[in-house]
């Protein structure tokens, strides 16, 4: 009797379990299949450009000579965006999570989230039509006073449509991503650790340094990497803001180009080998993003022993 009751466990719950585990497995496989499909497409389509004789590639000096200036341009724009956005985002997130009165915090968090809802083409238009014009006097000043630094070498662009402007627009776009993720992490800091710091006689800032920031470190890194992903791949804003050209060290002259904007601007009129070249550029962008994410994971895992997880 007991044997039968123990073995007969076919109820609705059992079927639900099976359906759920099947659905979860399918979803997991689907992600892998999509990723693999995209990678396969990129590689297959890129092969003609990678194997073509150098003279036939745009610029006439082969794929590598074509791609590396825009890789550098992409990285410059993304780094500018992160250098500006990360400290501001962490500051805003800390203000919302630990300093602002509760009502103000809720409102402010909402406003920051709204920033993420603005379409990128609007940011592009704003950057091109407004910010570039307003910021060009500042570029002139930089060229006159800091011109000895290669990155601020004059003459500054008269239109202000430079890689620095593009970077600033990108920083506004990645700001809400980094802010809202950091804020969520900051709010999850165990009360226990905050109280431990306060009970030792820590000021609020010291409490944040001792308990909140160490706890949130992996989360902040993930948030920054997500922001970096957005900055690397952002197309429309850069295409509208940047008056592109050859690779230049100066951030305040027109010039430079990013991979995403290069693809977007040239794809509609491309054919034959040109399409293949652009797809190959896309493959390079894909690899960069993948590498960035892997490095981020490695940084996070390096300090696992000291993380709050154990």
């Amino acid at each position: 009797m007991t044997a039968t009751t123990l073995t007969s466990t076919q109820g609705a719950g059992r079927a639900g379990d099976k359906i759920f585990s099947g659905a979860a497995l399918a979803a997991g496989c689907l992600i892998l299949a999509v990723l693999f499909g995209v990678a396969l497409f990129l590689v297959v389509q890129a092969i003609p450009a990678l194997t073509a004789p150098s003279a036939e590639i745009q610029g006439g000096e082969g794929f590598f000579a074509y791609i590396w200036p825009i890789v550098i341009g992409t990285l410059i724009a993304a780094v500018i965006a992160l250098v500006i956005a990360t400290p501001i985002a962490i500051g805003v997130a800390l203000f919302i999570s630990h300093f602002a009165p509760r009502r103000l915090a809720a409102g402010l968090g909402y406003v920051v989230d709204l920033l993420a809802a603005i379409p990128s083409v609007i940011y592009g238009a704003w950057g091109a039509a407004f910010l570039a014009k307003e910021i060009s006097p500042a570029y002139n000043w930089l060229a006159a006073n800091m011109g000895w630094l290669p990155i601020f070498q004059g003459p500054a662009s008269a239109t202000g449509k430079t890689i620095l402007t593009a970077g600033i627009v990108l920083s506004v776009m990645v700001l809400p991503i980094i802010t809202s993720l950091s804020r969520e992490i900051f709010l999850q800091t165990p009360k226990l650790h905050e109280e431990a710091a306060l009970a030792l006689g820590a000021t609020r800032w010291e409490m944040i340094k001792m308990s909140v920031l160490p706890f949130a470190r992996p989360g902040i890194i993930s948030a920054v990497m997500l922001g970096l992903g957005r900055a690397l791949g952002e197309t429309m804003a850069v295409a509208l803001v940047l008056s592109s050209g050859a690779l230049t060290a100066s951030l305040i002259q027109s010039g430079n180009q990013t991979i995403a904007a290069e693809i977007a601007l040239n794809f509609p009129e491309a054919s034959g080998l040109k399409v293949s070249t652009l797809v190959a550029a896309g493959l390079v962008l894909f690899i960069i993003t993948l590498a960035v994410n892997m490095v981020a994971r490695w940084i996070i895992s390096r300090h696992k022993e000291f993380s709050g997880a154990n």
């Binding site: 306060l198 006689g201 000021t203 001792m210 000291f306 154990n310």
Partner: protein
């Protein structure tokens, strides 16, 4: 290195709700005072008002006086940060900083407020504090390992080491053994016995045997019913409270008739 605490007519509120009503109690220096009472009677809340840690809870506020050797903790211009550096606290669940090594955990409070300390001094202080918390022999070979790798009882002693490293006047303990096994509990109780030679110790406990074992004086808190404020019913020598209390409620509680 120890001061007495005199509390007079203290009320604690959460918003408009009166949580603890009209507590007047004198806590002797270099002694162990235990707070006992049923759950929700306000003893932990009251303990937190002794180093202004209740201010972390939104809406919590107090009326009345808490004098640390004559200085009112709630006087005008008194900085809660200074109060807490003089009155340390150990919590219910061990809470070493997970991202810090054992050594850095001990030094955490000392390095606050931009104080600089040489490596030699730091070594001496770490050893003295860990010895003071009866933990030195267990961790001396792994001071650079994370504090979160220790057992629960060791973590709690690490927290005590961290608290005594800043040389406070008073150490408050909020049910320090409630998350620990009996062996670890015994280690902490032995430690409390040693701590009272140098510090004023106040301990909240659910465990009446523990109060009887470790404390010199015991205060019994009670609550008339849900929604009513907690009150201090009686305070006296531990021996008297457990053998010959003046209040009926105290006698019922310590004899196990309720709570």
């Amino acid at each position: 290195m120890s001061k007495r605490i005199d509390v007079k007519d203290l009320n604690v509120y959460y918003g408009d709700f009166l949580a603890v009503e009209d507590v007047t109690i004198n806590i002797e220096a270099k002694s162990v005072t235990a707070f006992i009472g049923p759950s929700g009677c306000g003893k932990s809340t009251f303990l937190r008002t002794l180093n202004r840690m209740h201010e972390v809870i939104p809406g919590a506020r107090v009326e009345g006086e808490v004098m640390l050797d004559g200085d009112n903790l709630y006087g005008p211009g008194v900085d809660p940060v200074t109060v807490r550096s003089q009155i340390g606290m150990v919590f219910q669940r061990p809470n070493p900083f997970p991202t810090m090594s054992i050594r850095d955990n001990v030094l955490a409070g000392v390095k606050l407020n931009n104080k600089k300390i040489s490596k030699g001094e730091a070594d001496v202080l770490v050893e003295r504090s860990l010895k003071g918390a009866n933990l030195w022999n267990e961790v001396k070979d792994r001071l650079e390992k994370p504090g979160s790798g220790l057992s629960g009882g060791q973590q709690q002693r690490l927290c005590i080491a961290r608290a005594i490293a800043v040389e406070p006047q008073v150490i408050l303990m909020d049910e320090p053994c409630s998350a620990l096994d009996p062996i670890s509990t015994l280690a902490i109780e032995d430690l409390i016995n040693e701590l009272k030679d140098q510090y004023t110790v106040v301990i909240v406990t659910h465990n009446m045997q523990q109060a009887a074992r470790v404390s010199d004086r015991t205060a019994f808190f009670n609550i008339a019913g849900t929604g009513k404020p907690g009150k201090l019913i009686e305070v006296g020598d531990t021996h008297t409270i457990f053998s010959n209390p003046t209040q009926k409620a105290t006698e019922d509680y310590v004899s196990g008739r309720f709570g």
